[in-house]
Subunit: 334 residues, 2 copies
DNA sequence: CTGTTAGCGCCTTCAA
DNA sequence: TTGAAGGCGCTAACAG
């Protein structure tokens, strides 16, 4: 255990302890390729640094070098949940492999970029939320590179290969493929989710039209499920045989409402959600869902950040359709 | 919109543009109390700074001042979910009110504190994960104050008023209060969750003993629910009338297993989870749960960080028992 | 092979 | 009321 001391230990202290100059310390610690430094000296510096518990001050280093090795993830101001949490975790790990440190900041509704950038200067910002044009130029002026990832940023293409609209498309396709000619799309009312829900619905509409299927929409999801139950009954009467839910929570809500209403899943109506949440396997019947193969996605994003590549892949390789017992294949019964 | 430029704009540039010295710029921008600066000059500096899009470089400032205004939240390496996400969000907001910027970093299984601290030097670290003794002294040596919050940190009391054991205690108490004399505690196998699950179980054991109730434990939660279903049946036969689940997901799993096994909730067996997840209101019957009133908790933590207070409150004010229809009051039937 | 030196952008004491 | 100067800790070109 290094001795506790109040004054912070600087490179100068190490130099003195090792009996060399600060330059030498810097060279040794940064492993200069021009390592014409005798092994003996090297070791003396190293042990001195170790003994004192020395580590270079990141601020000073960044000041000198003109850039830090921090990647800032800007998150929207609603609670992090589901796949996003996983994505953050693995992106962080990937970047760490390249010597980059990922830090996340949740922005508040009304504060702008300058707040965070007043606290540190990242090398790159991964915007997972919308950014204004002013904020973009603010970042640009500071030489920070900007990457849009599931957020709207003026002048930057969204690098997420994952298109929200493809989710809705895939849900509808999964049902139509299995012989469902009339399907419904159920989404919650929360305006915060518009960024996700509108494109999904739009994709569902397009796919339904393309496949000549009927699509009806329903937005009145209540917690108790009372209104939902009556809706499910009427939908079933209207020959709706498949329901796409905005996400697995909504799907669960529908599942329970159907239970209570005497509508059997999947015999009377099939059901498919989004997120492939952990509880999808815990319901009866197990919920079908559209999951995310984020491994590839994260790897790509990390590569993009570290090497500034540009290749963008499509959703097809990311979305993972998980058909479980909540979906019935109507075309399989001759 | 400020003009785009490649070279970063420094205080010197502002000084030149305004035709004053750098000192004056610094004085104006930092609003020195000794403001003997003529209004005319003040305005010239301010407009120049605005026009150039100037903002002080945080690294340089931190270097000079000897401290940053960053609070670093160290998160465990599993995906963020549920209440933790909410806590982060509101803590961030609170700290921002005090001019502090909260950044979150998810640590990897094998990297230690020095990795992150090689990228920035926060004023305070909020440890929501376990820290080793070496890491503690590492932070101390750098003058970083350390706060343990739902994580084990040598030499630091856990400042979370929320004790995990109180959760288990409360679950059992909720059932015993309602006339259940024999209860079960069901938890998953995941070792990652030990930090949470073991204390909860322990609390449950203590409460059961104190109240003279039987407590049986079950850890074999499978996804399909097959084993769980047979267990539920045997538990019901053994006169278990109430089940506490480690969290709401497990509770859902149990609920569905019971459904399938012909065990009625709450008529045959009552059920209570933890987290008060959003889907608790979407099940049939709606799940009872122990939720978290994190508003108070966050406010306290923020105050602790900004003012270094020490007062610690207990779980009672934080845990919120939500009894819904999944719990039956046996003592109410005379 | 190693030490001297300059300067990154910022703040603040001290003179003028 | 403003300018000059020093130094925070670090790196790297440039001597020696």
């Amino acid at each position: 255990m290094p001795p506790r001391q109040h004054r912070k230990v600087s490179g100068k202290d190490v130099a003195e302890a090792a009996g060399v100059s600060r330059t030498t310390v810097s060279f040794v610690l940064n492993d200069r390729p021009n390592s014409a430094i005798p092994e003996e000296t090297r070791r003396r510096v190293l042990t001195a640094a170790e003994a004192l518990g020395y580590a270079p001050l990141p601020e000073a280093r960044a000041l000198k070098m003109g850039h830090s090795d921090v990647v800032l993830c800007l998150l929207p101001d609603w609670p992090i949940t589901g796949p996003l949490g996983v994505l953050l975790e693995s992106l962080s790990a990937r970047l760490a492999d390249s010597g980059l440190t990922m830090l996340a900041h949740q922005r508040r509704p009304d504060d702008d970029l300058s707040q965070v950038l007043g606290a540190l200067t990242p090398t790159t910002i991964v915007a997972m939320c919308d950014l204004s044009e002013i904020e973009v130029s603010y970042a640009e002026a500071r030489g920070i590179s900007l990457v849009a990832f599931m957020g709207d940023v003026p002048g930057r293409p969204d690098l997420a290969g994952l298109r929200q609209s493809d989710i809705g498309r895939l849900q509808v396709a999964a049902l139509v493929d299995r012989g469902h000619a009339s399907v419904a799309y159920v989404l919650p009312h929360d305006r915060n989710l518009d960024w996700f829900s509108e494109p999904r619905l739009e994709g569902a509409r397009e796919e339904a039209q393309r496949r000549n299927a009927d699509l009806i929409e329903y937005r009145d999801v209540d917690n108790g499920g009372a209104r939902l139950a009556t809706w499910v009954i009427s939908a079933a009467r209207d020959r709706v045989t498949g329901i796409c839910a905005y996400n697995d929570e909504v799907a669960l809500s529908i599942l329970m409402a159907a239970h209570g209403a005497g509508i059997a899943v999947p015999e009377d109506v099939s059901l498919i959600g989004v997120d492939d949440s952990c509880f999808t396997r815990m319901t009866r019947p197990p919920l079908s869902s559209v999951g995310f193969g984020l491994g590839v996605e994260v790897q790509r994003l990390a590569a993009l950040i570290t090497e500034s590549g540009t290749e963008v892949r499509g959703s097809d390789e990311i979305l993972q359709l998980q058909i479980r017992q909540s979906v019935q294949d109507l075309s399989a019964t001759p």
